[in-house]
Symmetry: C2
Subunit: 403 residues, 2 copies
Amino acid sequence: MPEDSMDKPYIATCTAPVNIAVIKYWGKRNEELILPINSSLSVTLHQDQLKTTTTVATSRAFLEDRLWLNGKEEDITHPRLQSCLREIRRLARKRRNVGDPDSTDFAGLSHKVHICSVNNFPTAAGLASSAAGFACLVYSLAQVFGVEGELSGIARQGSGSACRSMYGGFVQWIMGNKDDGKDSLAQQVEPETHWPELRILVLVASAERKPIGSTSGMQTSVQTSCLLKHRAESVVPVRMEEMIEAVRRKDFSAFAELTMKDSNQFHATCFDTYPPIFYLNGVSQQVIHLVHRYNRHYGETRVAYSFDAGPNAVIFTLQQYVPEFVRVVQHFFPPDTNGEDFIKGLTVKRATLSEELKQSIGLEPIPKGINYIISTKAGPGPRVVEDPSQHLLSPDGLPKKTV
Amino acid sequence: MPEDSMDKPYIATCTAPVNIAVIKYWGKRNEELILPINSSLSVTLHQDQLKTTTTVATSRAFLEDRLWLNGKEEDITHPRLQSCLREIRRLARKRRNVGDPDSTDFAGLSHKVHICSVNNFPTAAGLASSAAGFACLVYSLAQVFGVEGELSGIARQGSGSACRSMYGGFVQWIMGNKDDGKDSLAQQVEPETHWPELRILVLVASAERKPIGSTSGMQTSVQTSCLLKHRAESVVPVRMEEMIEAVRRKDFSAFAELTMKDSNQFHATCFDTYPPIFYLNGVSQQVIHLVHRYNRHYGETRVAYSFDAGPNAVIFTLQQYVPEFVRVVQHFFPPDTNGEDFIKGLTVKRATLSEELKQSIGLEPIPKGINYIISTKAGPGPRVVEDPSQHLLSPDGLPKKTV
């Protein structure tokens, strides 16, 4: 926050990352407070490739709260958005009541807010944009209202997995057990610098139809799947410990196997839901087969997949295996364009594919099954954008033309 | 068995049915004895539509045991086949040792056997032909060697689910808990006459590739899926009681819902297997959606699906709903031929489809996704074919030309 009290941050712009759970969150024990039935663990993706940028402005002159998402004005009365606003204001009020000397540096608590948010990745990528979105919103609101400290509990009330996007690197969301959810918070396990060789590839699949949303999906699962209950109570607690251990030791093969098993178990519980929920399509199944056959070919686990509530695969691997594995993907999902457009993000060196490996995988290629790959790695948590030219809102409180 | 001891049954021909589990068997606690990790319950399909026919002949003149399956000679040393032969001979020996007066009416225990077996349905139909096959083998061997009484424990040692094909109607396979498997037997819950309105449609999907076999699939599941363990120990015992109750009461909606949930849970545990196993393809998923939307349209459960280790759907419904539902299938999986070839088995009346229902289901049709439908119902257990002209082996012990 600016030191100069004359330069009051009634406007703030922040960025926040996407995260991918390797121990999955599926199911709430409290819908309103968004308290999960199990803990989860994720990797925060680097914002150079995937981020949400949000500007929050407040002014005595604003007549109402307003919200723009990716250039389009949206309804701000969404209860979860209102939860975040209310909780940030509550924290700010608390802080001012105890006589914080800085308190007058920040926006009036009764002022209306304008919020403008954009993603640097298409929503069609099927990535959990709500996690980055709510993390960014809460982080930006905190700047404007002068709130510091633990914010993941507020982000959680916007979108469960958003609490994990409040930190960089490897993050656990501890489920907690209090009824008021005060102990259901995210915590960094290791920073993004901990495991520099780890690489992440998002394989954006061409989905035919929009799958069922995760909010209603997990509700139905909690109500109908007996396997989910068992998973949450008996399987995840053990896996959380194993996963934290694997991350700390940078044991890729342990990390990778747990990641795949947990993704599969999550989709298994979707299948055990009544009526069943399918998030994976034929392309996803092919990616799963491909990864297992690739690993089998080398006799070790070099690559892992994870799927959220959609058909896109998130691949975890080590830097040294990226070039060849990308070529494998390109071979078994021949893209329309063979150019550089297929790979976005971190540069991937060219590699050759041996006939032996192709035969060893031996799957029937699915042309255009994957639209493109985003190559990225673990990254930091939310950041304040100091450059005022980057604000998404102009001084009049309306989105800049470029947004 | 023939009354006339002059007409010694050194040759016998029997038929046996296919069965479809509605509470699924998946996983063995003893591979050799084929003892399951949970009980299961199935419906025996009518042999007018689906059956195996087997002729067993023995003769002092035969030089070796031989086996022909669907017209092709096969290796008879398969351990499970040998188990069935050994167990039948053991029972026969026991019977003769206690001085059964009929004992000399039957084949010599040291005689070699010739076995010839055919299915009246294509193996490509993906139906559990091994269940009908081993049931038929054991039943025929019992005829030839003069063994009576409980035979499901022997059929079980050929193929687990074969024990359920030893009875007609609604059959449970009680898992038992003895180490020697003596209490792991099939038992009729209700005969085939109990629920005459029940109808069964086998939707034969066009599979792209052969899925992993059930023997190795279930081995991997037992070794790797923690959800399967929970299912077997905690979920199935309750479901068995509920299913028996639903069958006894002829409560279609309870029967149908349990059937669907159990099929889904079985496939969920396949998914939780490492590496995961997929038996369902896009067509199977479409059938699942279609059934749920059909039921939702009518506000009641009129149709249920069940899938074994393959993409073919087995549909359970009541007689009155068959014509319309078949039309629905035909609409959403437009066949190549619109003729009668699409529906085999029990005659299905013509019906019309309302625009309202089509719209209510609202799925994108998948042309040629289903090859054909076999329309059938619950049927009786194995039968002796009395007409000697029906034997598949000629007096010289070789398959007849027509086989």
